[in-house]
Amino acid sequence: MAKPRFDIRVQPGFGTVALFTFAMLYLPIATLVVYAFNASDSLSSWGGFSLHWFYEAAENQAVQDAAWRSLIIAVSAATMATIAATMAALATTRTPPYPGLSFKYAFINLPLMVPEIVTAVALLIVFAKVKVWTGYSGLGYLILAHTAFCIPFAYLPIRARLEGMDQSLERAAADLYAPPWQVFRRVTLPLLRPGIIAGFMLAFVISLDDVVISEFVKSGGQDTLPTYMLGQLRRAVTPEINAIAAAFLVLSVALVTVFFFINRKKA
C-alpha cells in the first residue's frame, strides 16, 4: 500500500548521520589494518599484499621485549587489582550504611576523575625520589601504578554483580551449618565469578592500553608495547608499526568480543 506512513520513532536524517558515524569509526581502523599488509617500505604507496611487516615486527627484539613486558605488567596489575577490588567490593556492598562507606567508595573511584597526565607526572615526581632512595628501578613501579588505576575498573563490574546477588542464598547456606568461610567459598565466590572475570578482563585491557602513565613512570629501557609505538611514531614510520598495531587491535577486539558474549550469556 502506498499510503503515507507516520512512524513516531523516526527522526529525519538521524539514520544517515548514524551510518556516517559508524563509517567514520571504522574507516581509520580499516585503513590501518590494510596498510599492515603493504609490501612497500613506506606508508606513502601501496606495494602489493604481503605479510612481510608482520614477520619483521615479530623478529624485532625490541618489539618482542615490549610485548612481553606489557603482558607481564597487565597480568600482574590486573590480578592484584582484581583481588583488591573484590575484597573492597565485599566490604562496600550489601551492608547497611556505616561510617566510612561513602568515603571508601569515593576514594576507590577517585583515580577515574583525575586526568591521566596529572597522575602520570605526580607519579614521576614520587617515583623519581623513591628510585634514588631505594636504588630499585625494576618493573615494580609500572605494576604498582597500573594496579592503582585498574582498581576502579575492576571494582565496577564486581560491585555491580554483588549488588544483584540475593543475600538469602548465603543465609540459607549459613542455616545449613556452613561456617562463614565455607559460605564464602561455596556460595558467594561461585556466584560472584562472572563479575570477577569481567573485572579482571576490564583491568587487563585497561592496563594493556595505557600509554600516558607508562610513558612517565617507566625507567630507561622499560618500553611497553604502547610506549614503544609512541616512540616509533616520532621517527619515519614504516608499515611495521601498522603490523604491530593491527596485531594489537585483533587482540583487543578478541578480548572485548569474549567479554561481550560472557555478559550476554549472563543476561
Binding site: 500500500m1 499510503k3 503515507p4 506512513r5 507516520f6 513516531i8
Partner: protein, 368 residues
C-alpha cells in the same frame, strides 16, 4: 455487520469502513483486525469492548494515527484521514499509562497541546485554568507530575487531552490502573465530562461492567472482529452470539429445538420437553437445533412447576443477592440469581428438588 438500530438523523463522527490490519504475509500472516466497520456518532460515548488481543486498541491507535490499516478507510466527519499524521488530526488520546510529561508541571502538561497549536498566551492561560477546574486540579497546577497520585494523574491526562477541544477523544483503558473505588468515581466523572463538553468519546475497555455503566453504545469485539454493536441494553438482553452472551454478565445456555417462528418470535422446545417463546435477532431464521440463553436474574426458583427441574447443587451468598446452582435433570447446570430480602433465606437448601420458572420474554435465541 449491519447496525441493529440505525438512527438516520444522527451525524457520524468517525466512520471506520472495512478495516483490515494484517501483520506478516502468506499463511503465517496474523489478522489483528478482520474487516471491521463501525460508525461512531457525534456526541456519543462509544465503547470498544473485548478481551485483550481482540484488536480494540489497534483500532483506537488507527483512529489516533499511530497505526495504519492494511485495508479500509477511516473518515472523520466524512473526510478520509489516512494521509494525516497524528499531530494534524483533531483527535486527542488519554493514554492507558497517562503518558504525562515528567519534565513538565501539571500546568505545562495541560498547556502543551495549546502551545503546539500556537494559541496566544492569554488564551492558553484561560483555557488551562478552565480545564484544571473541570478536573478539580486547580490547586496542584504547579506540581511536578511525579508528585501527584494515580487518580490525579488520570485527571491531568484527561484535562490535557480535552484542552485543545478535539472533535473526538480517545480513551485507552484509562481507568485500569486505578483501584476499585476510584474507578467507580471516575466512571461517573467521565460520563459527566462527556455530557458537559459534548465531545465524542471513544472508550476502550475489557471491563464489561464499566462498558455497560458508561456507554451510549458498545461494540463487542473478539479476535479482530466486531460481533455486535448496540446500546448496553441491547448487548446485555439481546446478545446475538454466544461470545457476547458469555463475555457480558453471567448467563445460562440451554440447547433447544426450534419449533417455529411467528411474527419474529421463536417457539423452542427445552430439553425438559416444555415449549417456550424466545426472541430472535432481526432477520435471523434458524431451524433445527438452537442455543437459547437466559440471564440468571430472569429465572425464579419454584418449589413446584416451572419449565425446568433439577436438584440444588450449590448456594452462594453475595450480599445483595444469592446464586443458586441447580443441576438440571438433563445434566447441565442452571444458575438462578435471587435478590436477598432481610427476613428470609433463599428458601431452599442443597439437595432439594426444585423447579425453575423462566420469565416470559427472557429467553433469546443465539446466532450460531
Amino acid at each position: 455487520m449491519p447496525e441493529p438500530s440505525p438512527v438516520p438523523d444522527a451525524r457520524i463522527a468517525v466512520d471506520c469502513h472495512g478495516i483490515v490490519k494484517q501483520f506478516g504475509e502468506g499463511p503465517r500472516a496474523l489478522r489483528a483486525l478482520d474487516n471491521v466497520s463501525v460508525a461512531i456518532r457525534e456526541n456519543e460515548f462509544f465503547t470498544l469492548l473485548g478481551p485483550s488481543g481482540c484488536g480494540k486498541t489497534t483500532l483506537l491507535r488507527m483512529i489516533a494515527g499511530f497505526e495504519y490499516p492494511t485495508e479500509g478507510t477511516i473518515r472523520l466527519h466524512g473526510e478520509d484521514i489516512a494521509g494525516l499524521p497524528p499531530f494534524k488530526r483533531p483527535i486527542n488520546t488519554v493514554f492507558q499509562s497517562y503518558a504525562l510529561f515528567p519534565h513538565l508541571t501539571v500546568w505545562e502538561n495541560v498547556a502543551f497541546g495549546l502551545q503546539m497549536l500556537g494559541w496566544a498566551k492569554g488564551k492558553i492561560e484561560a483555557r488551562v485554568a478552565e480545564m484544571l477546574k473541570l478536573v478539580h486540579m486547580e490547586e496542584l497546577a504547579q506540581r511536578r507530575t511525579d508528585q501527584i497520585s494515580g487518580g490525579q494523574a488520570q485527571r491531568v491526562a484527561l484535562a490535557r487531552a480535552l484542552a485543545p477541544a478535539p472533535k473526538v477523544l480517545l480513551l485507552d483503558e484509562p481507568l485500569s490502573a486505578l483501584d476499585y473505588k476510584l474507578r467507580k468515581e471516575m466512571q461517573i466523572e467521565l460520563k459527566r465530562m462527556q455530557s458537559e463538553t459534548g465531545i465524542t468519546f471513544i472508550f476502550v475497555t475489557h471491563d464489561q461492567e464499566e462498558a455497560l455503566t458508561m456507554s451510549d453504545r458498545i461494540a463487542v469485539m473478539s479476535k479482530g472482529r466486531v460481533l455486535q454493536v448496540g446500546t448496553p441494553w441491547d448487548i446485555y438482553d439481546k446478545p446475538a452470539e454466544r461470545f457476547v452472551a458469555d463475555f457480558i454478565g453471567e448467563t445460562n445456555f440451554l440447547s433447544a429445538a426450534m419449533v417455529g417462528i411467528e411474527e419474529g418470535v421463536a417457539r423452542v422446545r427445552l430439553p425438559s420437553g416444555i415449549e417456550i417463546s424466545a426472541s430472535l435477532a432481526e432477520g435471523y431464521r434458524p431451524a433445527g437445533e438452537a442455543t437459547v440463553v437466559v440471564r440468571p436474574e430472569h429465572a425464579r426458583m419454584v418449589t413446584t412447576g416451572g419449565q425446568l427441574s433439577g436438584v440444588v447443587e450449590n448456594i452462594v451468598y453475595f450480599g445483595t443477592d444469592t446464586h443458586i446452582h441447580v443441576k438440571l435433570d438433563q445434566g447441565s447446570t442452571f444458575m438462578v440469581r435471587q435478590q436477598n430480602s432481610r427476613s428470609k433465606s433463599c428458601g431452599a437448601s442443597v439437595g432439594d428438588r426444585v423447579g425453575i420458572d423462566i420469565a416470559p420474554d427472557a429467553a433469546q435465541v443465539l446466532r450460531d
